[in-house]
């Protein structure tokens, strides 16, 4: 038998996991479904008020329980980004896009999402972007309920 006779076949593994999301992420996802972005109120070690987006159950710096959830803005600032020139299957957009950390208005932390800017030339750290939502009827309570962010001033 030659190497050309070695058998090959597709082998697909699927794990249909369903995670329990807990009270804080659950509230965040419920907010997304309802078209709102929520963060957790907390404090720095020096007492400065912070808002963690997406919210965590504990402050990542002080480990203290977080306070109430508050709604933050639907627009914010790109703090850093990376261009995805050749999107892969199951990535958020089928056309080239930017992965970006976005600090929403009213938030202290940046959250990872994607920016549909058309070209890396349209991307810069410090640029303002705004959320483009899926239609309400398609939102189920997951981060993809925000389809992407777009440069502020373009059609959301």
């Amino acid at each position: 038998m030659s190497d050309s006779e070695v058998l090959r076949a597709p082998h697909v593994l699927e794990y249909p996991y369903v995670r329990s999301v807990g009270p804080v992420i659950g509230a965040f996802l419920t907010g997304l479904r309802d078209g709102r972005i929520l963060g957790a109120q907390s404090h720095d070690a020096d007492g400065t008020a912070t808002v963690i987006v997406p919210p965590t159950e504990y402050d990542p710096i002080t480990s203290a329980d977080v306070g109430d959830l508050v709604e933050v803005g639907q627009s914010g600032v790109v703090t850093t980004w990376s261009w995805a020139a050749e999107p892969k299957r199951d990535q958020p957009l089928e056309r080239p896009f930017a992965w970006a950390l976005i600090k929403l208005d009213g938030a202290t932390t940046a959250m990872l999402h994607v920016v549909d800017a058309g070209s890396p030339d349209a991307m810069s750290s410090g640029m303002r972007v705004t959320a483009r939502w899926r239609p309400a009827g398609e939102r189920v309570g997951r981060v993809q309920d925000i389809e992407c962010f777009v440069p502020e001033g373009s059609t959301p």
């Binding site: 006779e5 593994l13 699927e14 249909p16 996991y17 995670r19 659950g26 996802l29 479904r33 939102r139």
Partner: protein, 163 residues
């Protein structure tokens, strides 16, 4: 819009592999597609492995000689499955057994049918039941299951090294 709070998140994982069987398993599967079990013998210790992996785990040498094994074997140990689980395709209770094919020096797992689950035993002689000839393929699904041959049970001494 639902008013119920979100409590779960579906996070399915989907891993797309291309499995390459290698020379030894390819030969084995070519045999399966013809309704035969083909193992390999170690040139150093003369043990016969099925399915073959291409090398002897004891001697670390390549196993290149193909050996056609019989269609019958001996149950060395077994498990009666009574617990239902997601994706189960066989009606419970059913018997999952380690089978030592005649001429082989290693067992492999097989389904036992045509026998009430409470009658399975170590030493039971079984034979492979294959799918119809035109359904044979490069897959272990070509072996439908094993069933009792009706022969007397094998003497424990003949398989105790494998149980």
């Amino acid at each position: 819009m639902s008013a119920e709070p979100v409590t779960t998140l579906a996070t399915p994982m989907h891993l797309d592999y291309q499995y390459t069987a290698g020379l030894s398993q390819s030969r084995f599967l070519q045999g399966i597609a013809q309704g035969k079990f083909i193992g390999q013998r170690c040139p150093a210790c003369h043990q016969v492995y099925v399915p073959p992996r291409g090398s002897c785990p004891t001697d670390g040498v390549a196993t290149t000689d193909p050996i056609e094994l019989g269609n019958s074997g001996t149950v060395t140990t077994y498990c009666v499955v009574n617990v239902p689980f997601q994706g189960q395709s066989i009606e419970i209770p059913y018997i999952c057994a380690q089978i030592l094919l005649d001429g082989a020096n290693i067992t492999f797992m097989g389904l036992i049918q045509e026998l009430p689950a409470d009658q399975v035993r170590m030493g039971l002689r079984v034979e492979a039941v294959w799918v119809d000839k035109d359904q044979l393929g490069l897959t272990m699904a070509s072996v439908k299951y094993f069933r009792p041959t009706g022969e007397p049970d094998a003497d424990y001494e003949t398989f105790k090294a494998y149980s």
